[in-house]
């Protein structure tokens, strides 16, 4: 039978993770952290917000982009779920609606990497709801 991971294995890879972490902290400033909030209420989850959130976590890590991916509640755009709120450092947050895999990829490629706005923004003056 194949080996099953345990806390002991985590202890083993700890130093490895730590060394990579230090590298990142040197190359990026704390203020350059990008924030992605995925709306994770009943409406969002039912529309596939979980998959979108997993995509952002793995993809941002793969591209070595310093970002925080968190959850938020329903923002009232149930008709446009899954929705994400994207805060680029030093800019006001924008909300994207109908974020499918394809859309998530587009947001990643255009907005996060190149800093250009792309289609699908829910156009309202928007302030973060806590």
């Amino acid at each position: 039978m194949s080996k099953v991971k345990s806390l002991a294995d985590l202890r083993k890879i700890k130093e490895n993770i730590k060394s990579k972490m230090d590298l990142r902290e040197k190359s990026d400033n704390i203020e350059t952290v990008i924030q992605v909030k995925v709306a994770m209420a009943t409406c969002g989850i039912a529309s596939g917000a979980k998959e979108v959130m997993e995509y952002f976590i793995t993809e941002l890590h793969k591209r070595r982009i310093n970002a925080v991916v968190t959850q938020t509640g329903c923002m009232g755009y149930c008709y446009a779920e899954p929705t994400i709120e994207l805060s680029m450092p030093g800019e006001l947050p924008v909300v994207y609606g109908d974020v499918t895999f394809k859309k998530a990829d587009e947001i990643m490629e255009k907005h996060i990497v190149r800093g250009e706005l792309t289609d699908g923004i829910i156009p309202v003056n928007y302030l973060t709801v806590d």
Binding site: V4, T42, K50, V68, T70, M75
Partner: protein
């Protein structure tokens, strides 16, 4: 909801909104009695008896951005259609416990779904909350406590992508092992 994992994600959001510092997610599969029991327990704000009675009504919600709250009614419906049951207990300032029992041999029973992914996302998005995940099948159990993980990784944040990836694989492999018995 398509599976139980998504329901857990959904109900856990209530615990997070109730400012819980501790969330216990427990799944118990009993092949002898054909039941799957899903439990989510928190130490959050809780609800008083009056609100608790209304909570299975879809037109009840504590939020202000919309007037309906479907999380609990949907879970109740999905367990009810398998002939199972749904209970919710709560005390103000003590916490809330939601329990749904599914008959897993019923044709309409939803599958378990990607539990490891859901637990990983909950931990990643709420690093300040302690999650305790228990999976039990026919009296063989696996338990994951974020407190133990935090102790192991010391100063590495628990929402580090590599740590999260490890947590997901650890849950997945342990559940596969239990399922293979």
């Amino acid at each position: 909801m398509k599976n139980m994992a998504l329901h857990i994600m959904d109900i856990a959001q209530n615990s997070i909104r109730a400012k819980a510092s501790e969330v216990i997610v427990a799944i118990n599969v009993d092949e002898h009695n054909h039941t799957t029991t899903v439990e989510i327990e928190d130490n959050g704000e809780g609800m008083d008896a009056i609100f608790l009675k209304k909570v299975i009504d879809p037109y009840t919600t504590s939020r202000t951005t919309r007037k309906v709250g479907l999380g609990i009614p949907l879970l109740k419906m999905n367990s009810d259609i398998t002939g199972g049951s749904f209970t919710i207990e709560s005390q103000p300032n003590k916490g809330t416990k939601v329990q749904a029992i599914f008959y897993n041999n019923h044709l309409d029973c939803i599958p378990l779904g990607d539990i490891s992914g859901v637990i990983m996302l909950l931990i990643g998005a709420n690093p300040q909350i302690n999650f305790n995940y228990k999976f039990e099948k026919n009296d063989v159990a696996f338990n994951l406590d974020t407190r133990e993980i935090k102790e192991t990784i010391e100063d590495i944040p628990i929402n580090n992508p590599e740590v999260l990836h490890f947590i997901k694989e650890m849950i997945q492999e342990n559940m596969e092992k239990i399922n293979s018995y």
